[in-house]
């Protein structure tokens, strides 16, 4: 549940950054212009696609998996949580790379990107906790 809430917040955050990037919003509420510097740098796109759009897709996937893991038989299985952890791990790695670029290459800190990085780390942590908990609650396969 916590992961779904965090993923939904992340989805809106990345939607905001993506809509700004494609010119659908007027101004990025960022304060010092650093978000624009990061977004408009050469690293603001990957393979011709705005980086924020990868965030939209990633958070949407994490939201879908976390919601799915709450229902039916999936709620009793470990692997939806494992899938969420795998998705979030990819997000953590990608956010780490982007944070490195901000610090070492672009020399500007986009606060929304940092919030997104914190969110994806939190989702990863939540997924790991959920995975461990389900492992505890679920009896070993051999005894079933």
């Amino acid at each position: 549940m916590v992961a779904a809430v965090l993923a939904l917040v992340g989805l809106f955050l990345s939607l905001y950054l993506w809509l700004w990037k494609i010119g659908a919003l007027g101004v990025l509420a960022c304060g010092d212009g650093a978000c624009e510097t990061v977004q408009l740098s050469e690293y603001g796109e990957l393979f011709g696609v705005p980086v924020a759009f990868y965030g939209v897709v990633g958070y949407a996937a994490m939201l879908a998996v976390s919601l799915w893991g709450l229902h039916g038989t999936a709620a009793r299985r470990r692997w939806p949580t494992l899938g969420l952890a795998a998705l979030a791990a990819g997000g953590v790695a990608f956010s780490g790379y982007l944070t490195y670029l901000e610090a070492a290459v672009i020399h500007a800190w986009c606060r929304w990107c940092i919030v997104s990085a914190v969110l994806v780390v939190a989702i990863f942590g939540t997924a790991l906790v959920g995975w461990r908990r389900r492992a505890w609650e679920q009896p070993p396969a051999a005894t079933r």
Binding site: M1, A4, V5, L8, V9, L11, F12, L15, Y16, L19, W20, G23, A24, L25, G26, V27, L28, A29, G31, D32, G33, E36, T37, V38, Q39, L40, S41, E42, L70, H71, A75, V105, H107, A108
Partner: protein, 223 residues
């Protein structure tokens, strides 16, 4: 999962969706930070006012503090600039003043401001201004931006010997730094910042947002 618990969970998600959509709609409508009142900015006699575009008799003056390396400034120049020139400046409604505000953290900004100022010596500031922004990616991450900036100057058919002399002498650096100091003294903190008459606003404004401020300033000027 308990049904009641799930109901509350989906209610919370619904609230987040509503708040998120409302925030996006507001962001779409807003178009910039809130305009704040500032004192008029008379320029002392003998000091450089900035690079001016448009008629001196235009009812509204807009002063833009910008950094050539700033992404939002490039965004504004590329997306909104053409509309501003055509529909506000050429129409005689606005006199536009560009003031240099190279940010400290932007290592290539000063080179770009110097290149534009040197083009200005040849009466070509605005063409250089546009090309520097339109070709942002060509120079902004370069270790030595002077070469791509010179290529831009060559593309504009500037007198390159005069341009090189201006760049090498760095004689316009003092003017750029003085303009920035003046902006700092006036409380400018971010780029781009616009002073529309006595209204100050920051961010890569949309044309509609800027036009609304011009209309307000025109109404004040008419009183």
């Amino acid at each position: 999962m308990a049904g009641q618990q799930l109901k509350w969970f989906y209610a919370a998600l619904g609230v987040i969706v509503v708040v998120g959509i409302a925030a996006l709609v507001l962001a779409r409508r807003g178009g910039g930070s809130a305009a704040v009142e500032v004192a008029p900015a008379p320029v002392a006699v003998g000091t450089f006012e900035g690079h001016v575009l448009g008629s001196d008799s235009a009812p509204v003056t807009i002063v833009e503090y910008a950094d050539f390396e700033c992404g939002a400034c490039a965004q504004f120049a590329i997306l909104t600039g053409p509309d501003v020139k055509q529909r506000l400046v050429a129409a005689g409604r606005v006199r536009w003043v560009f003031r240099d505000f190279p940010l400290d953290g932007h290592r290539n900004a000063l080179s770009a401001h110097l290149a534009a100022a040197c083009a200005g010596e040849q009466g070509r500031f605005w063409e250089m201004h546009d090309q520097i922004f339109f070709n942002h990616r060509r120079w902004v991450s370069e270790r030595r931006p002077e070469r791509p900036l010179r290529d831009i100057a060559r593309g504009l058919n500037l007198d390159l010997s005069q341009y090189d002399g201006c760049i090498d002498s760095r004689r316009l650096l003092g003017q750029i730094e003085a303009t920035k100091r003046d902006g700092l003294a006036r409380g400018v903190q971010a780029t781009p910042t616009f002073e529309v008459g006595t209204l100050r606003v920051s961010g890569a404004l949309s044309y509609d947002s800027l036009q609304a401020l011009v209309t307000r300033a025109e109404a004040r000027a008419a009183k």
